[in-house]
């Protein structure tokens, strides 16, 4: 990583301050006997939106703490551009941090909160007003300058926290599950807004979440963490289509993992059924087929060629609004589930529980991953 970020705002929106690449090298963090982060190396390109995704306890908050300077790694290093920042205290790192619970200063007004970074940096006082107004306009909170924090709703607080983190034009912004306290509708609106902000700011954003949908919506790349280690770092599409492990396959999307046996260079056997995959199988003897609910097509009267066919009986149909979730017990095999759009034709294609059903799985969607070593 040689890309050092430019400090001067050359292009983009008025608050754009350029971006900086981040390089984490062999970062490990131990707490006594517990290893929270285990030899993680990760490069983030300047201007990239990268999400750290993982279940709780996977080390994503520890990694964010190391990036923010709140935690020093037990070993390894962190670089922003070409600068080693491993031992740099938080206030000298020049990064914007948005905390999970907003961490707004309750004794200061909205404008005072947003001006905090400017005051702390001893920026000329005359510049505070216009820059605070600019940042608040960016998060669509113009006119809220004199409000007290306690007068704001959750979504508004979130926006103030965002304005405060971008007002000093940081080249890197860290976000720790910033939307987790908002209701679903507001969360989805904010996700779209964060995407827009990211394009305007041109800053590098590292975003921690445990919500895969949120990560898929916003990220250029997603780093999946598990037990303090990186499981896979990839684009949302590739994580979906080419998971490298059973963990990633089960964590991303909605899938059933079914044990299968090797039946050639690019084919597996599930009971008496042989399924072809468009990709070579991974090494190892223990293999799992990751069947994602939305990749299965219910076979109609005219079944196209070139598909793998799975037959079974419907055990349950759950109506979930925009889609139906259909549970199918495969003949002589395990139970899987598939999603069918809830439009009329889709509903007609599903037999009542007990009825026979054939599902088609394209070789491109036939994903085989190595089973976890026990």
């Amino acid at each position: 990583m040689a890309a050092a970020g430019s400090i001067s705002g050359v292009s983009g929106g008025a608050l754009a301050g350029g971006s900086v690449g981040v390089s984490i090298r062999n970062a490990t963090r131990r707490y006594g006997a517990f290893t929270a982060l285990d030899d993680v190396s990760l490069d983030v390109a300047p201007g990239e939106f990268l999400s750290l995704l993982g279940p709780s306890g996977s080390g994503k908050t520890t990694l964010l703490g190391i990036l923010g300077g709140f935690t020093v790694p037990s070993s390894g290093s962190v670089h922003f551009g070409a600068t080693d920042v491993t031992f740099l205290p938080p206030h000298k790192r020049d990064i914007g941090v948005v905390f999970q619970n907003y961490a707004l200063f309750p004794h200061l007004s909205v404008a005072e909160n947003v001006a905090f970074p400017l005051r702390a940096r001893r920026e000329p006082k005359a510049s505070w007003g216009p820059r605070v107004a600019e940042a608040l306009a960016m998060v669509e909170l113009s006119g809220y300058e004199d409000r007290a924090i306690s007068q704001l709703s959750g979504g508004q607080r979130q926006r103030v926290a965002l304005a405060r983190a971008i007002v000093f034009r940081p080249r890197l912004i860290l976000m720790d599950e910033p939307l987790s306290a908002l209701d679903k509708h507001l969360r989805e609106t904010m996700q779209i807004e964060l995407r827009r902000l990211h394009r305007q700011l041109e800053a590098t954003i590292i975003y921690v979440t445990h919500d895969q949908r949120e990560a898929l919506t916003m990220s250029d790349r997603i780093a999946i963490l598990r037990g303090g280690r990186l499981a896979q770092v990839d684009t949302p599409e590739r994580l979906h289509d080419r998971p490298m492990s059973a963990f990633v396959a089960s964590f991303i999307g909605e899938s059933t993992l079914v044990p299968v046996t090797r039946a050639g260079a690019d084919a597996v056997a599930l009971g008496s059924t042989t399924l072809r995959s468009a990709r070579p199988l991974p090494a190892g003897e223990a293999l799992l087929l990751a069947i994602q609910t939305e990749k299965l097509v219910v076979a109609g009267d005219a079944s196209p060629d070139g598909y793998n066919r799975l037959t079974g009986r419907v055990t349950d149909v759950v109506y979930q609004g925009e889609s139906l979730r259909v549970f199918v017990a495969l003949d002589g095999g395990p139970e899987i589930s598939l999603r069918q759009p809830a439009h009329h034709a889709g509903r007609l294609a599903i037999p009542a529980p007990g009825g026979a059903l054939t599902a088609l799985l394209h070789p491109q969607d036939t994903i085989v991953v190595p089973a976890e070593p026990a």
Partner: protein, 289 residues
């Protein structure tokens, strides 16, 4: 048939009565323990031999021992309070920010003296501070002084011992307030570019002010009425209001005069807080979360 809204109003009225009934035991306790004794005090302060008189209050104007004692009392209480803030704040800060294991130790050291009587602690200070006590002995042994210096039987001894006894009343409310300040706010302050001093002055200090106010009120009011330490360590030279009251009762058997002093002290404190609340918005500080 009853009009619906009338029925509703009747229901609401019943509910109000019920709430009043539920509150009445608490109100009765407050009346019995607070309102009645204060009223009795006020009545007694204007009676002599069963007749109305302002004689007890006239003394405040005629005898200068009264107002000099009041001045001294307020000065000592103020000194003790200021010193308690200065000494208590770092202790509370340590207790609130140290890892749990150490904060328990710090708080334990603060609370430990609570378990010994005020009288014992006052005598302990006398042993330490007297002319041939440990402190004077050490000062002379080190060659810092030739003569024993007067550490008790004066204002210094009174302030020192009072401060020692009242310090926990400053530390505990401060600790309670500081402990509730989310740690994330300090991290946020640092990540936004504030150096540790800036974050302390702009974030931690303002958010700990409710604790400072609570501790100040507690210590100041308690110091105003302090009796044992000024009596034992003041050596009769620091004649505080509480001693004025006790002399009036014990020596002259003047309950009316003693009551009048109590009423005036109460009025002074009330006036002071009213004045303070005009200058500093106390409600806002107390209400700040």
């Amino acid at each position: 048939m009853t009009h619906p809204s009338l029925a509703l109003r009747r229901h609401e009225r019943r509910e109000q009565l019920l709430v009043l009934a539920l509150l009445s035991p608490a109100l009765a306790v407050v009346a019995a323990l607070l309102v009645v004794p204060l009223a009795w005090l006020a009545v007694q302060s204007v009676t002599a031999d069963g007749a109305f008189t302002l004689e007890h209050y006239r003394r405040f104007l005629t005898e200068d021992i009264y107002w000099r004692s009041f001045l001294l009392t307020f000065r000592i209480a103020l000194t003790v309070t200021v010193l308690a803030v200065l000494l208590g704040y770092p202790v509370a800060y340590a207790a609130a920010t140290l890892p749990r294991r150490w904060s328990v130790v710090v708080l334990g050291l603060v609370i430990l003296p609570f378990w010994t009587s005020v009288l014992v602690r006052a005598y302990a200070w006398m042993v330490l501070l007297q002319r041939r006590g440990l402190v004077n002995g050490m000062l002379q042994g080190l060659g810092l002084t030739d003569q024993p210096i007067a550490l008790i039987n004066n204002e210094f001894g009174t302030v020192l011992a009072t401060l020692h006894i009242l310090l926990p009343f400053m530390v505990l409310p401060l600790y309670a307030t500081m402990q509730r300040i989310p740690r994330d706010l300090m991290l946020a302050g640092a990540s936004l570019g504030g150096n540790p001093l800036h974050v302390f002055l702009r974030v931690f200090l303002p958010l700990s002010m409710p604790g400072v106010v609570a501790g100040t009120v507690l210590v100041f009011v308690l110091a105003l009425g302090f009796y044992i330490t000024p009596e034992l360590l003041g050596g009769g030279r620091t004649f505080m209001v509480s001693m004025l009251v006790s002399r009036n009762v014990e020596i002259y058997n003047q309950w009316g005069a003693a009551s009048a002093i109590g009423v005036v002290l109460l009025a002074c404190v009330a006036a002071l807080f009213w004045l303070a609340s005009r200058v500093v918005p106390l409600e806002r500080i107390m209400g700040a979360r």
